[in-house]
């Protein structure tokens, strides 16, 4: 058995294999750290949340049920750890990302320095998106998880995930559009004729009548 599944490793851990959980950590640490970094926007908080996520997973290992994939279960724990960390820290330390941590995909032939700048701007804008939407965007747009998987992780209906992703992208677009402003508002581009949700503070959608 050269490459046991996550679920098999967790079962081995519960049977007493002292190395199984460490293997799970090594397998998932980069993804979990990345998830926490994207949600929290700074390395220190992301490292703390990553640690807390794995410790929580260790403590809860016996409660894992195979109804969900291990990764779904672990992502849910990580999302909770990251949002707990954000609450502990408040907003003070958000958006202090070191460019080195931003992680970028440079288009071939493009200027890498500019790509880094843009990536940092995107990450900075992302941290200004309301948390509920931000988490959905991170899961679906950055981690490319199917909406159904994100719905399982967030324990909400699939339609809610789609709505949060849409609103998150819209908020991100607004933040990026106003990124020259040192403290851009958290306005969300809202399509006309819709009620802004509770977190969409300033609908900036075009203003025109609902019925023509």
């Amino acid at each position: 058995m050269s490459d046991p599944s996550d679920e098999a490793l967790l079962a081995a851990h519960l049977r007493g294999d002292p190395r199984a959980f460490g293997t799970l950590v090594a397998r998932h640490e980069r993804r979990i750290y990345g998830l926490c970094l994207r949600v929290l926007g700074n390395r220190e908080d992301a490292e703390d949340a990553t640690q807390e996520a794995f410790l929580a997973a260790l403590r809860k290992a016996a409660t894992f049920r195979r109804a969900a994939a291990f990764s779904t279960w672990l992502y849910r724990i990580a999302v909770n750890a990251a949002t707990d960390q954000a609450r502990r820290r408040g907003r003070a330390r958000l958006a202090t990302l070191d460019p080195e941590d931003a992680g970028v995909v440079a288009d071939p032939g493009s200027d890498l320095g500019e790509a880094v700048t843009v990536a940092v701007a995107v990450q900075t804008a992302l941290t200004k998106v309301p948390e509920e939407f931000r988490v959905a965007v991170v899961l679906c747009d950055l981690y490319r998880l199917p909406y159904a998987d994100a719905a399982q992780i967030l324990e909400v209906p699939v339609g809610t995930v789609k709505s949060r992703v849409f609103r998150g992208r819209a908020a991100l677009a607004t933040c990026l559009a106003t990124s020259d402003d040192p403290d851009p508002p958290l306005g969300v581009a809202t399509p006309p004729g819709t009620d802004p949700g509770p977190a969409t503070s300033e609908p900036t959608g075009p203003d025109h009548p609902r019925k023509e």
Partner: protein, 308 residues
């Protein structure tokens, strides 16, 4: 579609939902409505910008930090469970002291045991923090379980067994446990003060300790000194190692390593609490309190406060 599609409809459209007719309706609307088209375009643009962010590399050192934290947590579980099992065994064998029952007396699930012992072995190999922790586990199990602690002493290191007679003093506070209440007690009660300042006196001999920089003062103000007043020996299942590990995990790294000074039993926000007071080897003079549910240090502290 004369009505503008609402956000849910646009979200569903962008997610690729809907049958051909529904999608055609939205597309037709977008074609004729620049404002809605702009919203969809800007949202689509944001999605494209997100593609610039790729998965970051793991920061150097994080892998090792996670491995150490997981080992410590597993060891904490082991330390938490081991004394009660030994205690039970000791009681059967020697008809030992009563009054040490607690929630953790319940049977340890079978699958936990190998994990716990494997983790205990890992703890022995772990460096600075781990050695004093196991030593304290020894102290507690000895104090609680009569003859039962000897096995733990063998596990932890024989030469600490002789020193392993004490345990952390427990201070009982009427009313709410707060940093202010503890400060008030420190100001008026020299025994409490010496328990804090002479924290070294309740720890294993310095030759064992991994915190040689800790000031070894108040060598006479042993836990007995405090124990002869209101405080009584710690007998609950909230073991020193469990509480210390949980507090350390929650502590600002700049404070580590923490040294346990004494426990406080009282109410925290109306809830029965066990509070660990620690000093910081890294910041002399600093003291913090860590609030746990009564006799339960299995999770992160409920609250923390700087005492001084």
């Amino acid at each position: 579609m004369t009505d503008h599609p609402d956000q849910e409809q646009l979200a569903a459209f962008q997610a690729g939902d809907g049958d051909r007719r529904q999608r055609a309706e939205v597309e037709a609307h977008l074609a004729g409505c620049p404002s809605c088209a702009e919203v969809v375009a800007s949202v689509e643009g944001a999605r494209g910008r997100l593609a610039l962010l790729e998965e970051p590399d793991l920061p150097p050192g994080l892998h090792d930090r996670l491995a150490a934290a997981v080992d410590a947590e597993a060891a904490r579980s082991a330390a938490d469970r081991t004394p009660s099992r030994l205690r039970l065994a000791g009681r059967v064998a020697t008809d030992g002291p009563v009054g040490v029952e607690g929630r953790r007396e319940r049977a340890v699930p079978w699958y936990r045991r190998p994990v716990a012992w494997g983790a205990a072995a890992a703890l022995l190999l772990a460096a600075l923090v781990a050695v004093p922790l196991l030593d304290r586990s020894t102290e507690l199990s000895t104090a609680r379980g009569g003859g039962g602690g000897g096995q733990a002493a063998q596990e932890a290191g024989r030469d600490t067994a002789a020193a392993a007679a004490g345990s952390l003093p427990v201070l009982r506070l009427p009313g709410e446990v707060t940093a202010a209440a503890i400060r008030a007690r420190l100001a008026t009660d020299s025994r409490t003060r010496s328990a804090l300042e002479g924290g070294a006196s309740v720890s294993p001999p310095e030759s064992q300790a991994a915190t040689p920089d800790r000031p070894k003062q108040g060598a006479d103000s042993t836990s007995q000194g405090l124990g002869t007043s209101a405080p009584t020996p710690q007998t609950g299942p909230a073991s020193v190692p469990a509480c210390l590990v949980a507090a350390t995990a929650a502590a600002d790294p700049a404070l580590r390593p923490l040294n346990p000074a004494f426990f406080v039993e009282g109410a925290y926000k109306g809830r029965q609490a066990t509070v660990l007071v620690t000093t910081s080897a890294a910041q002399p003079g600093r003291a913090d309190l860590w609030v746990f549910p009564r006799n339960d240090c299995s999770a992160a502290p409920l609250a923390t406060e700087r005492v001084r």
